[in-house]
């Protein structure tokens, strides 16, 4: 297990360095140089030269990369072109809101997907399974932004139950103070993840239902309810942990959409606004944070899977 952890962590580190190189290359792909992007097309060549010297953009690429990584280690992600605030401040303000949105909706999706998938596996092939399968297939094939608008049309416009806009604050306490405004963004992201998770849980449970230990459990007289809760759900839910880790980039993408629709003050909205205003430092800084979160997320999922399932003995096989 330890050697597996070390190897897996080393892999994650290599990927993280790759992400750094990638964002660094992307900075240099910015059309007409970063100076032009920051100062505008009418900037004089003197001002551009000053900008390049100030930001070290006239040094060799390798030296620039070393500077870039050095700055990152000092928590310096650059300055936003539009708000003139440090990117690290912007990210630090927005990140907790995302932990709330992504965390709550992922947890909800898993909590609904596990019983739903198990139910479908037990009733597989029957009408109820086919109906639910149809629903999850349709949901899976729907653009997230359309799901969000349908929810708004129903719950905000028709029924006036929930507001169509997320709480307009960046701090989590403030968001939690207005829980009704959180419902639709969280519901959108939950639905967008639920379809994939429940389909996965269903096929995982079908596999477990064919296992010999279930016959043993039934043969010893264990009531069906306990067979399901103790044996099927526990064993079938394990792979779902891995799927959550693997789909992390998709969850983030869903968060960008949900945040753009409901103007939820998180990283997704920050990314989206940076993209539309060509604010490259913010765009690259938040891309880096998202990349790091993904690497850590999939590492955590792999490790959790190894810890939860004693049958997996990493490093020995």
């Amino acid at each position: 297990m330890t050697s597996y952890l070390v190897r897996r962590a080393a892999q994650a580190l290599v990927v993280m360095i790759g992400v750094l190189i990638l964002t660094f290359i992307l900075i240099h792909l910015v059309p007409g140089s970063a100076a032009r992007a920051a100062l505008g097309v009418r900037a004089t060549s003197t001002r551009i030269a000053i900008f390049n010297t100030t930001y070290g953009l006239n040094k060799p690429l390798v030296a620039q990369f070393a500077d870039y990584v050095g700055q990152l280690f000092h928590g310096n992600f650059g300055i936003s072109y539009t708000t003139q605030q440090p990117v690290s401040t912007l990210v630090a303000q927005r990140l907790p809101g995302d932990v709330l949105l992504v965390g709550a909706s992922t947890a909800l999706a898993v909590l609904i997907a596990i019983p739903l998938g198990t139910y479908q596996a037990v009733k597989r092939g029957r009408l109820s399974d086919q109906l639910l399968d149809g629903v999850s297939f349709t949901l899976y094939s729907m653009p997230d932004f359309f799901v969000a608008f349908l929810l708004i049309a129903l719950f905000s416009v028709q029924l006036h139950i929930f507001p169509p806009e997320a709480p307009q604050t960046q701090d989590v306490a403030g968001m939690l103070a207005d829980p009704r405004a959180l419902v639709l963004p969280v519901a959108t992201l939950t639905l967008s993840n639920l379809a994939g998770f429940s389909r996965y849980m269903r096929s995982s449970a079908i596999d477990v239902l064919a296992e010999d230990f279930l016959r043993t459990a039934r043969a010893k007289g264990l009531p069906e309810r306990l067979v399901l809760s103790r044996h099927v759900v526990r064993n079938a839910a394990l792979p779902v942990v891995t799927i959550v880790g693997l789909t992390f980039p998709n969850i983030i993408a869903g968060a960008v959409i949900a945040e753009a629709v409901f103007s939820y003050q998180g990283m997704g909205l920050l990314l989206y606004q940076a993209a539309t205003s060509h604010d490259y430092p913010v765009l690259l800084g938040s891309t880096l944070v998202v990349g790091a979160a993904t690497v850590v997320g999939s590492l955590a999922a792999d490790v959790a899977y190894g810890v939860l399932d004693p049958r997996i003995r990493h490093g020995r096989g």
Binding site: A153, V256, Y272, T276, H278, L284, T287
Partner: protein, 279 residues
Amino acid sequence: MAAGKWPTWAANHRVQAGIGVIAALAAFCYLGPLVYHTNQVTVNLNAATLPPGAGHPLGTDGDGYDVLGRLMVGGRSSLELGFAVAAATTVIGTLYGAIAGWAGGIVDAVMMRAIDTFLALPTLVLLLLLVTIFTPDLLSVILLLTALSWLGTARLVRGQILTLRTREYVQAAKTLGGGQWWIIRRHLVPNAFGVIIVSATFTIADAILMLSVLSFLGLGLPPPAADWGSMLTNGLDYLFDGYWWMVYPPAVILVITLIAFNLIGDATRDSLDVRLRQR
């Protein structure tokens, strides 16, 4: 899917339904405009937001374009994008995956870490970055989506090749003195074909969906070009004014298309899974 599994696959009801729907959609998009002539290039504000009725079976949108005719034109962009991305992705991903899986060792490790790097960044986030750098048109969106979607295919193919290369018949081919490329071409790729098809079908659906998301974020194809995603997005501006005909037709056709492709991919994957077939 080896040659012998072809009849079972083609007889699968879900595959048939999916292919039927896609054929109907393609006919609608490519043959439809031959019989149903509409102006989809110049804006006509006098005819804007007309409800469905005579002359405009599905009404007109905010720019005065006939919605039914625009669904046909928009569908072309969506379908062409989906198929082009899937084709390019399949070629690149298969080659990359086959090389990594066949080479093994350090080459494989380096090639796979490169993929992990790109996969660590959500496609949408990378796309947001890239479309701000390049101005999108259909070709550049195809190139960008291809650049981001071949990674998954490469990973799947590599996994498949890794298991195939240990099979006896591959070992036999090697012993007989078969060249590397010959074995890859003759034995490995054909046997990994099923996995490749599954991933290609899902890629089509993902690419069409991603284009609609880009359109929604205002970073899609600029007008007068249209795709179902941009029609849906433009329509959403009018949804709460009661102009339902601008929202539901593109939404329904988009979702039906995605369901059809996902259905084929799903059914194909099931037909490849021996354990599922036995039950």
